[in-house]
Symmetry: C2
Subunit: 255 residues, 2 copies
């Protein structure tokens, strides 16, 4: 009396949009092209579900599918992303100043904003022959370790600070500060000095100094930093340059 069972009694899954976005999240800098199976695996969902969702995303142009069957992020999404105010807008306004900084110091220059409890790197200019750094434009990092991160954390809402300081704090080197009490002191210093210093906290041969960029209301919305080889200069010499540059960018943004 029973028809040959088709489909599945359907269990609690969650909002569709969430699952679609999980699929998009499967893409990253290392994996810009994925097969359907890889997508399904990485997003942890059945193949047929992934297939249907990807079809819809494809139809709209959020993702594209090559003749080889691989999925890639589509131009439509790039266009949309170009409309994000903090990323591209800030980036364009700051670029000339970052280039000045790069010209003068020949070191690595970084521009970043805070997203939740992480740093997102918006622009990065590699100094000729400077220390290699781990970061990538569009990439993320913990707020507690880098020069830009410390600046952004120091000026973040109290609840964000608490969440970060009470949560587990990633360690990258032997010098990474993971003690909440010590971190609080560093944040206070960052606020009173107007710049942050991250000494060998990310890699053992690098030091970075960051300064805050403010909008017209004085709210900190981004941070610049110089990343140099540890021991090549004193933090204070860099701080002057970075602060000046950050202030110039802040003024340019308010105009």
């Amino acid at each position: 009396m029973s028809v040959p069972r088709r489909g599945r009694p359907a269990g609690p899954t969650g909002p569709v949009i969430g699952r679609a976005l999980r699929l998009l999240d499967a893409f990253d800098a290392q994996r810009r092209e994925l097969t359907l199976s890889e997508l399904a695996r990485r997003a942890d969902m059945p193949l047929s579900t992934a297939h249907r969702l990807m079809q819809e995303l494809c139809a709209w142009g959020a993702v594209e599918r090559g003749t080889d069957g691989l999925y890639r992020i589509g131009l439509r999404l790039w266009e949309l992303g170009s409309l994000a105010p903090r990323g591209p807008g800030l980036r364009e306004a700051a670029l000339p100043f970052l280039e000045d900084l790069s010209q003068i110091t020949k070191e690595n220059v970084q521009l970043a904003v805070r997203e939740g409890t992480e740093v997102v790197f918006v622009e990065r200019i590699a100094g000729s022959g400077a220390v290699p750094v781990l970061t990538r434009v569009g990439g993320r990092f913990a707020l507690t370790a880098t020069g830009v991160g410390l600046v952004l954390l120091a000026h973040a809402p109290a609840e964000v600070q608490e969440e970060v300081l009470n949560g587990p704090i990633d360690r990258y080197t032997a010098k990474t500060v993971t003690d909440p009490v010590q971190l609080r002191r560093m944040l206070a210093d960052t606020r009173s000095n107007g710049f942050s210093v991250s000494d060998r906290q990310v890699t053992m041969d690098s030091l970075s100094v960051g300064a805050p960029i403010r909008d017209r209301h004085g709210v900190v919305i981004a941070a610049v930093s110089l990343v140099v080889r540890h021991g090549s200069t004193t933090p204070h010499a860099l701080a002057r340059l970075v602060r000046t540059s950050a202030q110039a960018i802040s003024r340019a943004l308010s105009a």
Copy 2:
């Protein structure tokens, strides 16, 4: 006997993802910040529906909501967009060559790819004192009018060419070519010459010359163009420069 009717009998709507993407589409270069009501209006859906969908998008970081209640495109979307291979990757590889071209000519330089039956501008360098152009990075335009558009159309799959040539063809000036027969001839010329010429087809004081950028297999994936004031130079003088630049970019991409 009837309880005070709540909710609505629900009518046929369509896939959720489509509606969510329609909401995102409501953002454009002019309107980077929208209220919920504007979003609902532009995406043509009930307020409560828009509200629920935006909440989900917000939760993931696709959009952000300021303290003022306005919605903006979120950083997460910008990050994702940065992973699109055609946009950013091509852009970075081509940028040095475009700057050379801009330095030499002091004119407007444009880099574009095809998306469906439209041109998408990936990069644009404004020449100092050159003719003002209408286009914007991330913007779209018809394939039939611009220098880059003609190149991309000339090398598009036959079905795309037919769709464009048989469909309605937008007119921008008195000189815009809208006759399919004449356009076919122009496309044939573009292919045999290795460059396209758009003479006063977009505005009455501009002329643009475009050339194809190819991947390692020889497939045309993008186009460069110079846009100059009409009458300031002959197309052939520009063609040499643009073709050389396009070939250099093609080689850089294959490496």
